[in-house]
Structures are given as C-alpha cells and as structure tokens.
C-alpha cells in the first residue's frame, strides 16, 4: 500500500470510530505489527521490572504515598516533567503546530510559564508544610477535619476530570496506533497503571515517570536531529524550507479560505509562521492562559511530587530541572510539528486524526524510511510505545493523587481521627487505589466517543479557581482560615464547572443544526451550479460534434467528468451534514437545557479564578478562627525553614 492510501484508510477507520475492522484503524500495517508489539512489550517489561524492585521497597505508608521522601531533586525534576508531558502535550502540541503553525507554538508557551508560579510560590512551602496530600497543607492551621474533607473532594474532582480525558484520549490513541479495540485499550491502560500503583506505590510511579520522560526526550531529540540536521541545523534555513513546501502552503490556503485567493505561494507559506490561524478570540486565549499559569500550581498530582523529596532545596531543584526539561521539550515540538507538516503534510496528518495527534508518530515513520520500511515502522512503534507509556504513567500519578486524598484525608484524617497505624493506612491506600482505578476504567469505557478535550481545560480551571487560591492564601495570608478555605473550594469548583456547563464547549443541537443546514444549502448551490455546468458542457460537446468542430478548451469530456465528480463530492458532504442532523435526534437543548451558550468563554478561568479568591477573602473575614491566626507564625517559620517537618525516611 502506498502511504497516502494507508493514511486514507487509517483516516476512515479513525472517523468511523467504532468500526469493527480494527486492521484499518491504525497507523502500522499488519505485516509490521510484530514490531509494535515487540517494542511495546520491551517498554512494558522494563516498567514492570522497576515496579517489582519498587514493590520490595514499599513497606510503609510513607513509601507508598511519597516514596519515603527519598527522591532526589534531579530525579523528581524528570518525574515532574513526566507527569506534565502527558499525551495531550506530547502528541497534542506537536499536532497543533503541524496543523496551525505559529498559534500551536504560542499555545505551548503557557505550559512552561506555569512553572514559574510553582517555583516561586508553591514548591518549597508545600514540601515544608505538607506530608502526603494537599489536605495536609490546609489542615496545618485550619480545622483539619473540615478542610481535609473539602480538599479531598476537590482533589478527587480535579483528578477525575483529568483522568477521564486521559483514559478516553489514551483509548483512542492506542486504537489508532496499534489497532486494538477501544475497550481493550482502556482496560490495558487501567490494568498496567493499577499494577504500578498497587505494588510499587509512589516509588514505582516516580520511576515509571522518569523512564518515560527520558524515552520521550530521547525519541524527540533523535527525530529533531534527523529532520533539522538535513538543513545543517540552521533555523532560518529549516523554516525557509518548511514554508516553501506546497503541502504547508495548501494547508494555509485551506484555513484562510477566501482570504487566500490573492496571496502568492510565498505569502501563504510565511503566513504559517504568523499568528491567527487557530486562535480567533484573544480573550479566550487569555482565559486559558490564566487557568494554565495558576492551575498547574493547584494540580494535586503535581503538588504531590514535592512530598517525595527530602528537603525544600531539593524541591526547588526539582522544579528547576523540570522547567529545563519541559521547556526544552516544547522547543523541540516546534521542530516536530513543523517537520511533520513539511514531511508528512498537514492534510495527511488530519486524515488519520482530526486533532493532529498523529503528527509526531507519522513523522517518526517517515524519518525511519516510510510506511513500507522496517526501520520506519520500528521508529513509529517506538514513538507509539512511548506515547502509551506516557498515558499509563500520567494515569498512575492521577490515581495515586486521588487515592491518597481518599485514604489519607477522608479515611484516616476524618473517619479515624488520625489514629491509624502505618499498616492500616497502607492497606486503606491500596484499597482506595483499586476503587479509583476501577472507576477510571469504568468512566473511560462509558465516555467512549465523547468529546472530552474540554475536560483537561476544566481540570486546570478548577485547580486554578479552587485549589490554588486556598493553598496560596493559607500559606501567605495571615487572616485566612477554615471559613475562607471552605468558601473558596466550594465557590471556585462550582463556578468553574457551572461556567463550563453553559459555555460553547457543550453541544447545542440548534446551533449544530443551523451550521449543518448552512452546509447543506452551500452544497445544494454547488450541486445546482455543477448541474448547469454539466448541461452547458454536454450541449457544447454535442454542438461541436454536430458541426465537426474541435472541442473548445474547458468544454470537453475532462471538464464534464470534473463537474460530475464535483456533484458526487458535494452530495457526499451533504449526506454527512444530514447524518449529523439526524444524530441529534429530537433534542433541542444542551445537557443543562440551554439552546445557546449563556457564557461565551470556552475556558472559565477569567471569571472563576477571581471568584475563587473573592470567596476565600470573604469567607475568612466573616468567620472567626483564633487557631488559624495563632498558627500563622508557626506556619510562617516552618514554610520558610522546614523546622518541624518529619525527617525523610532513610533509604
């Protein structure tokens, strides 16, 4: 099979999401599947070996939740990078760059800048104040049972949103990459993740993250060296070739539509490096930026990583390493994305996966020698296996965060009143991991075919609007107290969720219908025009035959065939639109009963973050809590010096 043909088949398979012919819904041809399984097997075996070693070291509850505090700054830096470079950022951003050029790269910047917040305000105090969970940080000077309950609920909420997006995204990805069924992919991801978490706890999760991050960076460096090296590692030279590529120029022309008519190919190519191909509403992007920059510092699975290092200095060092790795990686994605656009072509990438997620794997296949070479498929299999490991590792981190909130905050902190032995708590933590893991698999299967992309944005929005304000103000505002923490968590979480429920992220049947009807109308017009063309050309051909004249240019059989093909294509588009209207059924309102969005922002951060902060302020001022103020000085000293923090377990 040729590359294009295979891509088309892959695209058809991916589009017909539940097609029963998995053989076509994949990027690797059947005859090379053994390579995929071999590489997947090798990477899974490596992580399993690590889990086996880790399991022998996981004896106490501190080992399970926080790897006994025995992780070094450098190791933790790689692990944070591993947690953060989820499939969404690895495959997603490379895809966005390949499809939208500059705007995709601009999108990646916020993910790194977010770490400035983590470094400057969160990492060190968290390590000094907290023990295993975010609830521990809040409980230091507030009513422990109350704040732990609310913080645990918020942790589980954020982790579940993130988890759902990862499970569904992972299921689709594995299905596209190696062609196994969606349900089996989800269950495989779930079982592997449970094995890491249950047996190896935080030690195994940390090492799986480190291995995965190293593999990811290695694969990316290799690909960038191959694609950039051809142009002598010259940045202008390389980008100059990218924008000279007709596939890139065609993509820009398609995105711009009518506006592209008067542009030369050079202008079209240069446009790829200019803003505005993806983001049309700047306010939306600013709102997303706020959620990223403040939300990262409120993500439970990221904060949890700071409990694994022995000192605040190591916590700081780990953020610095993480920033170097994450930032360096995002610079590499510029080359991965633009390289895939030039070598594979945006149209071919979008044909396999509309979101562009296959840009990096397809580039790997190309660089290794193409779809029909052993090396190409080996390289593709390697990148696919790294992507798979990425999903499993990120899911493991999330499950651990949610399970520790459930067992450490709710069961031990609230129900047992902090009276549980290490063995009891370890057992509780494992039981909670099984519960959360089973929940993740169930949700993953139930959410099959749903659009879950906005769930990651929602997780960041809740983290930024609820978790971040309460942690920040508990650490830095003397008057903050239990009333403020509860108000902030409740208002922040509900505001973010409510605003998303009434935002354009939801499906609005009437709007979909109107858009599809417009498509049908355009296609009807095109069909009518082509029909009149067909009549005109047929008449001209007959007239020419009758008078024995040669056929005029543009009025011959070729033109006739072209017009007929145009009719067929328009009919097909029209049928697709009609199908979409039929799919809507009789519903006229969104999930919450709205005909059109009440709130125009896709990301609620711009409104819900200030609301969260306001709630903490008001709640703290209206509620009197002597303990919170008395504890302030102790907290201040401890967050800055670490005095009183339990010494790390020796390993």
């Amino acid at each position: 099979m040729t590359l294009t043909k295979k891509l088309l088949l892959g695209g058809l398979g991916a589009a017909a999401a539940f097609a029963a012919a998995p053989a076509f819904a994949q990027a690797v041809a059947k005859e090379y599947q053994y390579l995929t399984f071999a590489v997947f097997g090798a990477i899974i075996a490596l992580t399993m070996f690590v889990t086996y070693v880790a399991a022998k070291r996981t004896k106490t509850v501190a080992d399970f939740y926080a790897a006994g505090g025995g992780v070094s700054g450098l190791q933790n830096g790689w692990a944070i990078a591993g947690d953060y470079l989820s499939a969404a950022s690895f495959l997603g951003i490379a895809g966005l760059i390949s499809l939208y050029g500059y705007d995709g790269f601009m999108y990646s910047v916020g993910w790194l800048v977010a770490y400035i917040t983590v470094l400057l305000v969160i990492a060190e105090p968290c390590r000094n104040i907290g023990k295993y969970t975010m609830g521990d940080i809040l409980a230091f000077r507030n009513n422990p049972k109350v704040v732990k309950t609310f913080m645990a609920i918020s942790t589980i909420t954020v982790s579940t949103f993130y988890l759902t997006a990862q499970m569904v995204g992972g299921g689709v990805l594995v299905k596209t990459l190696i062609g196994i069924d969606y349900e089996i992919s989800v269950i495989a991801v779930g079982i592997l993740m449970m094995a890491y978490v249950l047996f190896g706890g935080m030690v195994a999760t940390t090492w799986v993250q480190i291995i995965k991050a190293i593999l990811l960076v290695t694969a990316s460096l290799l690909m960038v060296a191959l694609v950039w090296g051809q142009y002598g590692f010259s940045l202008p030279g390389y980008l100059g070739e990218v924008i000279k590529d007709p596939k890139v120029q065609a993509r820009v022309a398609a995105l711009l539509g009518d506006a592209a008519k008067n542009m030369t190919p050079e202008q079209l190519g240069q446009r790829y490096l200019e803003p505005g191909l993806l983001f049309k509403a700047p306010i939306d992007q600013i709102s997303l930026g706020m959620a990223l920059v403040l939300g990262t510092a409120g993500l439970p699975h990221i904060l949890m990583r700071f409990f694994t290092v022995p000192t605040a200095q190591q916590a700081r060092k780990s953020v610095i390493w993480a920033m170097a790795i994450i930032g360096g990686f995002y610079v590499l994605t510029l080359f991965l994305g633009s390289g895939a656009a030039m070598k594979v072509g945006p149209a071919n990438i979008a044909a396999v996966d509309a979101g562009g997620n296959m840009a990096a794997p397809l580039l790997a296949q190309y660089l290794g020698g193409g779809a029909n070479s052993v090396l190409g498929n080996l390289f593709l299999a390697f990148v696919a296996a790294v992507a798979f490991a990425t999903i499993v590792a990120v899911v493991a981190g999330l499950v651990l965060a949610a399970a520790s909130a459930m067992s450490h905050d709710i069961w031990v902190g609230v129900i047992k009143g902090d009276n549980a032995t290490s063995d009891e708590e370890l057992r509780a933590a494992r039981i909670c991991s099984v519960i959360v893991g089973a929940m993740a698999i169930t949700i993953g299967i139930l959410a099959k075919g749903q659009n879950v992309a906005h769930l990651v944005a929602l997780a960041f929005a809740v983290a930024a609007s609820a978790n971040f304000p309460v942690v920040l103000l508990t650490l830095y505002w003397k008057r903050c107290n239990t009333g403020g923490v509860v108000a902030g968590l409740v208002v922040g979480t509900l505001a973010a969720i409510a605003l998303v429920l009434v935002s354009p992220n939801m499906t609005y049947p009437l709007q979909v219908k109107a858009a599809q009807e417009k498509i049908i109308k355009t296609q009807d017009d095109r069909i009518a025009k082509f029909n009149s063309d067909v009549q005109g050309i047929t008449a001209a051909i007959e007239a020419a035959k009758a008078s024995n004249q040669p056929l005029a240019a543009g009025m011959d059989e070729a033109a006739l065939a072209k017009a007929k093909a145009g009719i067929a294509a328009a009919e097909k588009t029209k049928a697709g639109a009609q199908q979409k209207i039929a799919d809507l059924g009789t519903s006229t309102t969104s999930l919450v009963g709205l005909e059109k969005p009440l709130f125009e922002l896709r990301n609620p951060g711009l409104i819900s973050i200030p609301l969260g902060f306001l709630a903490v302020f008001l709640g703290s001022l209206l509620y009197r809590d002597r303990r919170a103020e008395e504890m302030w000085e102790e907290l201040y000293v401890r967050s800055n010096t670490g005095i009183g923090r339990a010494a790390a377990a020796a390993h």
Partner: protein, 76 residues
Amino acid sequence: MVFAIIYYFLLPIGAAYFPELYKIKVWGPINVGLLFALSQFIVAWGIAWYYARRASQFDSMADAIARDAQKIGGKR
C-alpha cells in the same frame, strides 16, 4: 512573578491586537512573533535561574535559624 505573568500575557495580547508587528521578518523567514515566543522560554529560564541563585542565599539563613531552634530546644 508579576513580571513573568505580564510578559507571558503580552504574547497572546500582542498576537491578537498587533499582528502586523509579529509579521515583521527579522532573520530569513523568522519574524518578530516567533522570536517573541522563543524569548518566553529564555525569560522563564532566566527567572528560574535568578530565583535559584537568590534562594540559595536564604537557604543558609534558614539552616542557621533551624540550628538555633534546635539548640533552644524548640519542637524537633
């Protein structure tokens, strides 16, 4: 922190309201917008490096306080 956030938000705001500025070519096909986006990485790393240097000075102060606290017999 404030500088980092303002610098970051200038990027999308600039892209939205001053696209012409971003389109000025500087080095071959490389334009102002691309350089500005790349500079975000440099600035973020610069801030991190500067903070790490300053913080290591505070480390020794914190250690001294912690030692003193232990001497007077404060909590562990």
